[in-house]
Amino acid sequence: MSEKNHEIQSILEEYQQKKLSRRQFLKKVGAAGVGATAAAALLAACGEDEPAATTAAPTTTAAPTTTAAPTTTAAPEEMGPTRGGTLREGYNRDVSKHDPITTNWYDPAFFAIYEAIVTVSPDGDFVPQYCTDFSVSGDGLEYRFTVEDRQSHSGGTITAADVAEFYRIQKFSFIASLASPISHYEVDGDQVVAKMNNAWVGTLGPLATGYWRIANINTWKEVGSYDDETGLAGEGVVASVYGTEIVDATGPFKHTEWVPGSHSYVERWDDYPGSNVPYFENKGTAHLDAIRWTVITEAGQRATQLENGDIDTLLNPAHQDLARLQGNPDLTVYQHAEWSGYFMFMNRENYPELFGDVETRRGLSHAVDREGMVQALLFGNGAATYGPFPTTDRYYDPAVEQYNNYDVAEANRLLDAAGWSMGSDGVRERDGVPLQFEFMVENESLQTAIATAAAAQFSQVGAQADVNVVDRAVWFERAGGPEVPAGLFMWLWPIPIDVLTLFCASFTIPVPNWSHANEPRIDQAIADWQSAGTEEAAAKAQSDFQIAWAETLPNMSFINQNSTFVKNNRVHGWSPHVWLLYPYYNDTWIEA
């Protein structure tokens, strides 16, 4: 009997030290002959107040538009996680460099390899991830993150000073302006302290994204032979293999392979000390042996590969395949609003004769049937956007819907008023200049369809948009330059206000403010947002920003698609939620 007690005591200690997940704990005490009620009592004694039978299903009550419908079978869940196996995930974009400082985008792999100082729970709250605890000073000018020394994949140690140094260098990255109210970072014992220029309610948002995920800065510097004089422009950094061949971080998986255009591959890190994220069930090493993300840029192929069993999980199938996938009993479809949008930039500095006046821009905007585009192109899986924000955002201001609605008569009236008269060939002219322009779009099926649809609708009011489909690299090379009057762009970012300011602030002309828009109202709203110390001030600034965008049209918003995740029902613990772009993999396991 005492031996049995000792065994149970040992299991309890392991659980308290977070070496075991709740499931593992229940399994072990069950094997030791403890009944479910007694096990629950033991958990309660450990401070665990959740019922023992809680499943990993996401609790997205705070996400207003989430329509996730996980229908995982109960029996395997009760059996508990199985260790092993490789999760094969289909990804709708090309893989990007696994370096948070120099990458141009971050992929799902960042959620497996790296940890952010904080992350977002399914309820939309910020919770610790890398840090064990965090707090904000009463005046809002100081954020303190408690961090323990952590071992990284390479075996090196990351201290609080290393984290602060990582953030210091990260401030040189192209995306750093999104957190510009953070002045600098300091170290105070085991705490990293973010010193603010001003109190700002948006401080934690950027820190939870992929670009601020913490790398072992010592390895990063060493691989890229970094020095402060040349910064990120240094030859060593530019040519660095960090992120492509070498990655050193603290997530539950280690970078193994990165092949652009094909896949990326990570393997379980067996020395992972466990996660601090409170809503993760698995506090120990990952269940999966490995994860492979396969690039499937061909929209129609994604669903087919999942149905054929070539992949286990999938990000963003083509909209036309969604109904079929939802009807498949072997699959579970998660669907929620995506923090993204499609807009058209209009280069008004180099083409003032076309886009210099707001009447013309508004005239064109009224010609676009956004609701029709949502139905036809997204199969209803999205929403029309009359302003910059997706409709699901907590700061979305419905007042923008009074602008830019589909009204061909109003479009013609505005264009007439702007001095554009209809030519004999059906194209309007003003002062001998035809209302005709190149409309550059990236070579991707949905974007091409959106541009083609918009161009067709412009032509109904006498504007000829010549769609020019180009490679992604060419798009970025040409956008903002003097030779491109207009282009379609898709943005994706979990905090709309942060990223959207980049596309219309006067200080980001010409890139990525490709419109060269210089609107004092918008600049003021951005300044107000970045100095918003209260929720009320933040809400007002964001509302002002949206209305100013909808009225002055620095860019013309079209539609916002929903984000869709699909998994085979053999996969468990893979629970995407609305507040994060990608799911975490700590809890994920596959039925044997």
Partner: protein, 312 residues
């Protein structure tokens, strides 16, 4: 018994020889026409070709409508739906209207490209083969160099320099096809240059231009035309392939490759969006290939006889 002088004998022989040559000439023409009618491949190709060209030329006039016009309330309609003979695409655009315009685009590109390639290829190949020496070495070197590049790569290079669109396709396909035609023509000219009638013409003091015009071109035109028909098919496929990957016709201007590319994302929803332009592409290429094969049979009886020998 009539005694004949050597002179009258020679004159009679000349006359008989001329009559024979004339009869041979006429019978060759007649034989050609007969083959033209009797050759089932050629006949099938011509019939299909007439249908396709008719659709391209007259279709837009008969069907009318705006190929750019979208209709969100009628997307992915199947053929023979109301107001949509061949259905509609993902933007609700009428497939028939777009198809006919796409055929026109394909034909214009194919015929235009091949015409230019044929003219340039004939000129370069003839000059190269006839002149020989460093001219031949230089020109054939350049042609071999161009021919060595894959068509898609050349198209990508042009698209990079000039931007995506039909102009890049025309230049890329035209350049590669020109090199192919020039190489074949050069070979023919080299072979012909060794023949007695060319040597006789040279001995007779005819100018190079006259020899080329009167003696070489008539002899290489037939094989060149046969070759050209093959390259029309190549051009159709190349234009479709390049439009499929986004380097060819730019939206909203339809092309067969682009229609196939747009439709492939909706195969399980409405396969007709891909099937209709795909089948049209097959018919176009088949008709041109059949015409090419038929012309080859007509102009080169040896192949026909060889084929018959194989069949027997």
């Amino acid at each position: 018994m009539t005694a004949s002088t050597p002179e009258s004998y020679l004159a009679d022989w000349d006359r008989r020889l001329l009559d024979f040559e004339e009869s041979q000439h006429i019978s060759a023409f007649r034989r050609g026409m007969r083959n033209l009618v009797r050759n089932r491949l050629l006949l099938s190709g011509v019939i299909l070709g007439v249908l396709v060209v008719g659709a391209g030329v007259l279709g837009p006039v008969i069907v009318g409508g705006d190929y750019e016009l979208i209709n969100f309330s009628n997307i992915h309609a199947v053929p023979f739906s109301e107001d949509a003979l061949l259905g509609t695409d993902h933007l609700g655009r009428d497939t028939a209207t777009r198809l006919f315009v796409a055929i026109r685009v394909s034909l214009a590109v194919a015929v235009g490209v091949t015409g230019l390639a044929l003219l340039a290829g004939l000129a370069i190949g003839t000059i190269s083969g006839f002149r020989g020496g460093w001219t031949d070495r230089s020109l054939s070197g350049v042609m071999d160099f161009i021919w060595g590049f894959p068509l898609i790569l050349v198209a990508v290079l042009f698209a990079g320099g000039l931007g995506e669109g039909l102009l890049s396709v025309i230049l890329a396909v035209g350049l590669v096809n020109m090199a192919a035609i020039a190489r074949v023509v050069r070979g023919e000219v080299l072979a012909l240059s060794e023949r007695e009638f060319i040597e006789a013409a040279r001995a007779g003091g005819l100018s190079n231009w006259r020899i080329i015009r009167k003696h070489l071109l008539p002899n290489i035109l037939a094989p060149a035309l046969v070759l050209a028909s093959y390259y029309v098919a190549v051009a159709i496929i190349a234009e479709a392939a390049l439009s499929f990957i986004g380097l060819g016709a730019q939206p909203p201007l339809p092309s067969l490759g682009q229609m196939v590319a747009e439709g492939r994302n909706f195969l399980q929803l409405n396969h007709w969006e891909t099937t209709v332009p795909g089948l049209t592409l097959v018919v176009m290429v088949l008709s041109v290939s059949l015409i090419g094969d038929g012309l080859r049979d007509v102009f080169d009886p040896r192949l026909r006889h060889e084929a018959k020998g194989l069949e027997s």
